[in-house]
Subunit: 368 residues, 2 copies
Amino acid sequence: MGLKQQLLFQKEAFILENGATLQPVEIGYETYGQLNADKSNAILLLHALTGTAHAAKHHEADTPGWWDDYIGPGKALDTDRFFVICPNVFGGCSGSTGPSSINPKTGIPYRLSFPGFSVKDIVRVQYELIKTLHISKLKAVIGGSMGGMQATEWAICYSDHVNSVINIASPLAASPDAIGFNLIQRMAILNDPDFNDGNYIAQPEGGLATARMVGMMTYRTSELFSKRFERFTVAESSKSAFSKEHFQIESYLQYQGDSFVERFDANSYLYLTKAIDLFDVIRSQESEAPPYSHIKIPYLLIGITSDQLFRISDLRRDFELLKAAGVPVTYHEIDSEYGHDAFLVHSEVIKFAPILTEFLLPTEKIAH
Amino acid sequence: MGLKQQLLFQKEAFILENGATLQPVEIGYETYGQLNADKSNAILLLHALTGTAHAAKHHEADTPGWWDDYIGPGKALDTDRFFVICPNVFGGCSGSTGPSSINPKTGIPYRLSFPGFSVKDIVRVQYELIKTLHISKLKAVIGGSMGGMQATEWAICYSDHVNSVINIASPLAASPDAIGFNLIQRMAILNDPDFNDGNYIAQPEGGLATARMVGMMTYRTSELFSKRFERFTVAESSKSAFSKEHFQIESYLQYQGDSFVERFDANSYLYLTKAIDLFDVIRSQESEAPPYSHIKIPYLLIGITSDQLFRISDLRRDFELLKAAGVPVTYHEIDSEYGHDAFLVHSEVIKFAPILTEFLLPTEKIAH
């Protein structure tokens, strides 16, 4: 029921965009629902930066997934109708080959000898996985944040192999602002006393926690923090020399940082944030048309007005670009005080789910 | 002409808000213009977190100050009329007693044995300085950002000793959002391998640079970064294993971080950011009226619509609070793509200067 793993590129090496090679590549994934006889009901679901293949519970006693609200009988990704495949991202650390994987040539983890990779590389590995499952055409590819960037690459690179794509809260190119915050997060990790050029024994805890805390600031909103934490202080006093007072927002962020260290590999974090920075399907090579203009399938773009990471102004620009290029794009904006993470928040399901359901339905009707 | 220094609390110790004592306290300050015979033309100017007493050039060949655009003959702070006093902040590292000062009892720097202090403590030291200059009443106190918080404390604590106060871009209480970003900056410093519990020999460079980079993200705006840097890359390739590409926004931030290390003490940064976090003149003790309601003098509040550090929504709330409490408050909002730092940017002078001039003029007329 849980994590499945698939070896890819066993006979021939995976050649990455930058020319580096890797062999083999393993991908961890989980599935929900049943693949139908003609293999036409598969949806590929792609997680955000720190997500995993565990998108939903497989049974009541199972640990919660990151999209339980959307996956199940009668839900937006209705498991009575769809077969949902959620892979762990290539370069990640939860079942797929990444910097913490053992390099078969050396017998030790790749760490910083892992090749730099792009969102397109991530997607090319996913396509190999889909091939091994003998699925020639996906009903849809759906992703949020970094998963949305992957969904966009699917729409560009594999439009013959997917009916439609849903991109939640990701732009067609990472903004300088987002790149800046990612750089700061990598700096915090690289500067940790335990980082040791990536050859750490235990995680570089302080640096990775700090990185996560920076991330959290961009995933939520100042409005939400103001409403939730105000200027409340916590009972236990701070140990810092400069002040004994400690605010709830500080406890919250530190808890987020500390718990992240237990579940995410620091080297993976470096590579994945850089892949996000490099994502850009607006810029074209010389006189060629920009990559996004090659999207020929229905493309649903959902922006979140309060998004502090991927600003709504960028998503509005992207909608205009797509429309002008003749892409069959549908655009929705969600008002939410939760910011970027709204698509992962239980109370906001009601805002997203109907849009997903409506977008997925017509294709479903045509297919029958 | 340059930095003057004044010893304070030589006979009796300075008793801080938290009960700690310090003796003596030295304050570095610079002045512009001439104090008139009846000592009625003095303006106290208070710098932001990383500013210094050097607010303006004293002569053509002098190094630029942080407010050259506003200080000089015919400018908003007209040195033909006003005597401008700009002290380095208590707890800072540019001429005033702070964590890097020598503790006379031990012969070594205080470092983390320096007492925790508040914005009110900073202001109480400034009041002592004004007394030693035999100025019984200031024409105005003006400050931006952390300096604005100090200006507000002046309006509350010393309204008999100042005619009017100008607060640029600071709220009546630090928001959870601002506290979160400050916490992250302190984390980056505390986690630096060279920090050594504050007893560093050389500065904790990586951590302090990272802190500055986080600060820069909140001082400017995503719009500005998008316009200035787009997704341009720099000629020299990155040395990082995860990617050879390096964006201009990254070079910019790293330059800002690296140059900051040369001019600011890491321990001072810890104490000052915490003082900002603790600033709150909205919360009152039990049944007492909130501190801000005690402001009885003309109070000019200037908000910047695009401010990412101290949000315009908070400044609007503060204006309403002040108005409702009967404070003689004037409120202006500045539209600027520069965000929080707009009041320090040359091209934006035209937006701020006329407001300052108009606000300072009537008092001037009455005084004559």
